[in-house]
Amino acid sequence: MGKRVAPLKTTRLSILGEILITAGMVVMLYAVWQIFINDPLVSNQQEQTSKTYVQGTSSSVDKFEPISKKLKQGHVFGKIYIPRFGKSYERLIGQGTFQKITLNKIGPGHYLSSQWPGEEGNFAVAAHRTSHGAPFNKIDTLTAGDLVFVETNDNWFTYKYLQTAIVDPSEIDVISKVPKRLNGAHPGGKYMTLTSCHPKWTNRQRIIVWLELIGQQPASEGKPTALEYLQR
């Protein structure tokens, strides 16, 4: 018969060790939850919510807030369509870039200091690259020829891809009226800047994508022809 092994003696140190291992496992589970559960869930939620918003003034459906300097943080004033991210890709744009109010809930957020869509200057939008729906997860795939569309209560705006850059978080001039580091940027230009974190899963740097306004049409004329495939 084999010798029976005596159970290990429980000491304060062994209890502390087990608590630390448990804490480590909880942290790892949090990462798993964030990546595999919360992220797809929020992404789907953001897309579905986005589909319920329409232009116009009917009170029976969710509608965009009119663009105004008084617009409060977290209020939705438009929608962004990026066909490069998928044909069904659309996200609401909220005012402001505070995480709790806009980025973690609505998705893309408009920098308060930047201009509005279609205005002279720079319409700058930030969104998460990973986590909380990761609206700009594929921002690095944008390339020459790509179009980005913005819908507001009154207009549709079409922006064309210009350039991508990786910068330090301190380089805030990338969202200024005449974006720093954008080749050929000039006063009077109508730009759009998309910003997110780089590389994925870190916030060490920022990935910046610049676009330029190439078209604007009133909402009454319907969506741009490049978006005709959308079912609404």
């Binding site: 909880v26 919360n38 709790k100 930030a126 690259r129």
Partner: protein, 51 residues
């Protein structure tokens, strides 16, 4: 801690293992559906551009 818990659970080795797995699933569910969403909402605010 865990070994003490294992010893206190009723039944044989198989029954104890099943109970432990069930307990782990309950704990993970509480974490996933209650604790983590609450923690996520509390995580500090950074007004700058974030990942």
């Amino acid at each position: 801690m865990y070994s003490a818990l294992f010893r206190k659970l009723p039944g044989g080795k198989f029954a104890k293992t099943v109970q432990l797995v069930l307990l782990a699933m309950i704990v993970i569910s509480i974490l996933f559906f209650l604790v983590f969403p609450a923690v996520d909402a509390l995580i500090s605010e950074d007004p700058s551009i974030n990942g």
